[in-house]
């Protein structure tokens, strides 16, 4: 007994002395890719290093696969047990490809048959951000609000749970994660006056274990005795209701349409919520909690442990949904458990993930709508000159898609850097455009977006989260709307909307290799070890999404305010790419 205890104690001591091995960013890696962000910490870091900065120039296409769907492809392929799984945009097919056979032939396809009408509800193209593997099953969401579990071997549906009603303007586009046996899923539809929620389903049965709304009384938000937000102003009762005028919280937005991270040690999931509605901020006085916020919750019960609002009373469509990358870092000389969150408002938040304290919030892109975050109160300071409403505001930066939208960043424990694909867009806004829905004329926001300073609409940058500084940046003509992937081979991968798949040196940003694919890339690249022991890189091509709707949706570019104003910034995209969903897989010869 005694030697064992000593052994354990010394092990414990060793962990204390050298915390590097226990840092959350150092996740085990078996060469598979079982969830879109690679791991619960959401680093999108692969320890595979056959493909490296020296030999990536020899990278060749190994095989490809057509999805048969032409709208925007945003998903990450999964690789589990020598099978690759791909979720398409609506009609949300799930393909299984056999990696053990030459050319990876299809094993099966699962077709959930979502209702065609759901296409009319999705605000910004009919995308899907992917699936998660857990315990022999593939879990994902359909546009018409079904969460499905599919047997990973047979392609047979195990269960299907209806999570909401598309007739209320809701849809689902996010990729779930599975934590502690619960499938965590949330709704989309911030542009349709919905009430946002995140839910946990029992992975075995599909039964809804909990549903936490983003707005409303504490009982609906699952805020209870254990809710301890860092900032005093967030500790009052029923803020999800009392920071709204009247009953507006009932249709106030706050959809949870993007990423979920999980810290198994703290037993907390982290996710953000979308912007509030109605669009005109004058009509919703108050902070409008908990829209454009981040929640830390228990995965089994949904109970909120802390929350923080990035953008109180949002005026610019700055959703708080962007990725939260979990890192253990030395900040100001002290080891801290943090999360890194590049927000739509253009600031890179480093927060203590145990309690929600903001440690820094520096701009990673040109911005003028905010002045900074008061680290004592946590309050975002606004530039009143750029406030919107029924008046004209010019040169507000970043534009509604933000300094960065949903496109997820990566983090390399090797370099200690974040790799951030992002936008460089500004806009002008007027509240006087005639519009209509269902026979009802009204005046909607007239918004036009255009390139920010420098004339480039996108950028891919490396960011030091400890120093809170940009290390290098590469300009892109179009918004960098794909995810990032970084590997132990010191290579970082991403794709561009004009159809180039690129490999950069992760320390310098130097371009090492590029390949022209069939259609613009807005998806998430992954890396995996094949049954032959080789390292592969895979990415979906297929332009679309909000930024690419001008091509995928066939929008008439005469009207620059279409696609909620994004068309104005993207009129030339059609000259550079056409639509079409194709998977590309690369390896060394």
């Amino acid at each position: 007994m005694r030697p064992t205890t000593e052994c354990l104690l010394s092990l414990f001591a060793a962990l204390l002395i050298s915390p590097a091995s226990a840092q959350i960013q150092n996740q085990p890696d078996d060469g598979q890719w079982t969830m879109p962000a690679k791991n619960y910490a959401s680093t999108r870091y692969s320890t595979l290093d056959q493909i490296n900065a020296a030999n990536v120039k020899n990278l060749k296409m190994a095989w490809s696969f057509s999805t048969g769907v032409s709208r925007g492809h945003e998903a990450a392929p999964l690789v589990v047990n020598n099978t690759m799984y791909i979720v398409t945009p609506w009609p949300n097919y799930l393909y299984a490809l056999d990696l053990t056979k030459p050319g990876a032939p299809m094993k099966w396809v699962y077709q959930p048959n979502p209702t065609p009408a759901s296409q009319g509800v999705a605000c910004c193209d009919v995308v899907n951000r992917g699936a998660a593997y857990y315990n022999g099953r593939i879990y994902y969401n359909t546009l018409d609000l079904q969460t499905v579990a599919v047997d990973a071997n047979t392609g047979k549906e195990v269960w299907k749970t209806k999570m909401g009603d598309i007739n209320l303007g809701e849809s689902m586009t996010m990729a779930p994660i599975v934590a502690k046996g619960k499938v965590i899923v949330g709704n989309s539809g911030g542009e349709f006056g919905v009430r946002g929620w995140m839910a946990g389903l029992d992975a075995d049965t599909g039964k809804i274990a909990w549903r936490a709304y983003s707005t409303g009384p504490d009982s609906d938000v699952l805020i209870g005795a254990n809710f301890k937000p860092y900032y005093r102003s967030d500790r009052a009762k029923d803020l999800g209701k009392n920071t709204w005028a009247g009953d507006q919280w009932k249709i106030g937005g706050g959809a949870a349409w993007s990423w979920v991270s999980y810290d198994p040690t703290l037993d907390l999931i982290y996710y953000g919520t979308s912007n509030p509605g109605p669009w005109n901020p004058e009509q919703r006085p108050g902070d409008n909690k908990w829209t454009s916020s981040i929640f830390a919750r228990r995965p089994e019960t949904g109970e909120a442990i802390w929350a923080y609002q990035f953008n109180p009373h949002d005026e610019h469509d700055y959703d708080g949904v962007n990725e939260n990358i979990l890192l253990d870092l030395n900040i100001n000389g002290k080891p801290r458990k943090v999360l890194a969150h590049p927000d739509r408002n253009g600031r890179l938040y480093i927060m203590d993930r145990t309690d929600g304290q903001v440690l820094s919030a520096e701009p990673f892109v040109y911005l003028n709508t905010t002045l900074g975050v008061d680290l004592n109160t946590g309050k975002l300071k606004f530039n009143e000159a750029k406030a919107t409403g029924f008046k004209t505001v010019r040169d507000a930066c970043p534009a509604p898609p933000g300094g960065k939208d949903w496109q997820p960043s990566a983090y390399s424990p090797k370099t200690g850097l974040l790799y951030i694909p992002h936008n460089n867009l500004c806009y002008e806004s007027q509240g006087t455009q005639a519009n209509y829905i269902a026979g009802t004329p009204y005046v909607g926001m007239l918004s036009r977006m255009y390139a920010g300073p420098g004339g480039n609409r996108g950028e891919f940058c490396a960011w030091d989260p400890v120093k809170a500084k940009k290390v290098w940046a590469v300009k892109e003509m179009f918004p960098a709307w794909s995810g990032a992937l970084v590997t132990a081979g010191d290579v970082v991968f991403y794709g561009t909307m004009d159809g180039w798949f690129k490999a950069l040196d992760d320390r310098t940003g130097n371009l090492l290799w590029k390949f022209k694919v069939g259609s613009g890339i807005i998806a998430q690249p992954v890396s995996y070890k094949g049954p032959d022991g080789k390292q592969y890189i895979a990415v979906l091509s297929g332009v679309g999404g909000w930024a690419g709707a001008v091509v995928a949706g066939g929008i008439n570019t005469v009207d620059g305010t279409a696609a909620l104003g994004f068309t104005n910034a993207m009129t030339d995209l059609g000259k550079y790419t056409t639509k079409g969903g194709l998977l590309y897989v690369f390896s060394l010869p």
Binding site: G120, A245, P278, Y436, G439
Partner: protein, 261 residues
């Protein structure tokens, strides 16, 4: 793509349907008083009338009128005409307007509110219902918001539950049943649904007619794809040639109409 082949479509339609051309209209399957799948809306009747004038057979593509409706329907080539769009809508080519209506105040007659203006101080106390159109509140709510009146403004979503019959009616029902004191609603909804309530309702045009460049009256037209001038001209001629019948249909459905200022 669709711009170029329009006239061909017209010809192809002729060939199939025994030399009778086809007027292809996209419409909402569940949105009275404008349209429904049974053809009971006044835009259905107007489309029938226009098809008759053109000697064409009327053919519908049913598609819920939500955001991206035009993109999915008219612009995707699923049809050639959409009825009932604001004449100033920038994204389509619009015909001559065939009516002009206004947002209206709706209250129970027995409440004797006698409201005439958005500047009425009683709006600060009343429970005021408005439609929520996507994530925009109906335009008059902007005036109230500018005066700091927000907490007593209640949004009723146009969208839902959309699978129930006449989702837009809930707002008028709420007035009739006393859940709200007053509704500010687009005229055609008020005129049509008020007639179906057991309580008598007062309907008064919203004044002032504009605020901060936001209009509360709108001219309504049919929309065709930009560049489809030939079809637009034919529709314009049909609208001009039977304005009496158009008036009869609008009156039958109780559409409040206002003159151009």
């Amino acid at each position: 793509m669709c711009f170029r082949c329009l006239s061909n479509l017209w010809v192809v339609g002729s060939a199939i349907a025994a030399n009778q051309p086809v007027l292809r209209v996209c419409a909402d399957p569940n949105n009275l008083p404008f349209s429904n799948q049974e053809g009971q809306g006044f835009e259905n009747k107007l489309a029938e009338m226009l098809a008759g004038q053109l000697g064409a057979r009327l053919e519908y593509t049913w598609w819920a009128e939500r955001k991206s409706f035009l993109k999915s329907s008219l612009e995707a080539g699923r049809c050639d005409v959409v009825m009932g769009v604001p004449a100033s809508l920038a994204s389509v080519a619009t015909t001559k307007p065939y009516y002009r209506s206004t947002y209206v105040f709706v209250s129970r007659s027995d409440r004797n509110l006698h409201v005439t203006s958005l500047s009425d101080p009683r709006f600060a106390e009343w429970r005021v219902g408005v439609h929520v159109v996507g994530d925009d509140y109906a335009p008059p709510a902007a005036v109230l918001a500018r005066r700091g009146i927000t907490s007593n403004v209640v949004g009723f979503s146009l969208f839902g539950p959309y699978n129930e019959i006449n989702p837009a009616r809930k707002l008028i029902d709420a007035v009739a049943q006393g859940q709200i004191d007053i509704a500010i609603v687009w005229g055609p909804f008020a005129g049509y649904f008020a007639k179906q309530e057991s309580a008598t309702l007062d309907i008064v045009p919203v004044m002032p007619a504009t605020f901060l460049t936001i209009p509360f009256t709108y001219e309504i037209a049919a929309g065709v794809r930009k560049g489809d001038g030939e079809l637009r001209t034919r529709l314009d001629n049909a609208i001009a040639s039977d304005s009496a019948e158009i008036q009869r249909i609008l009156n039958e459905y109780g559409v409040p109409q206002v003159r151009e200022e």
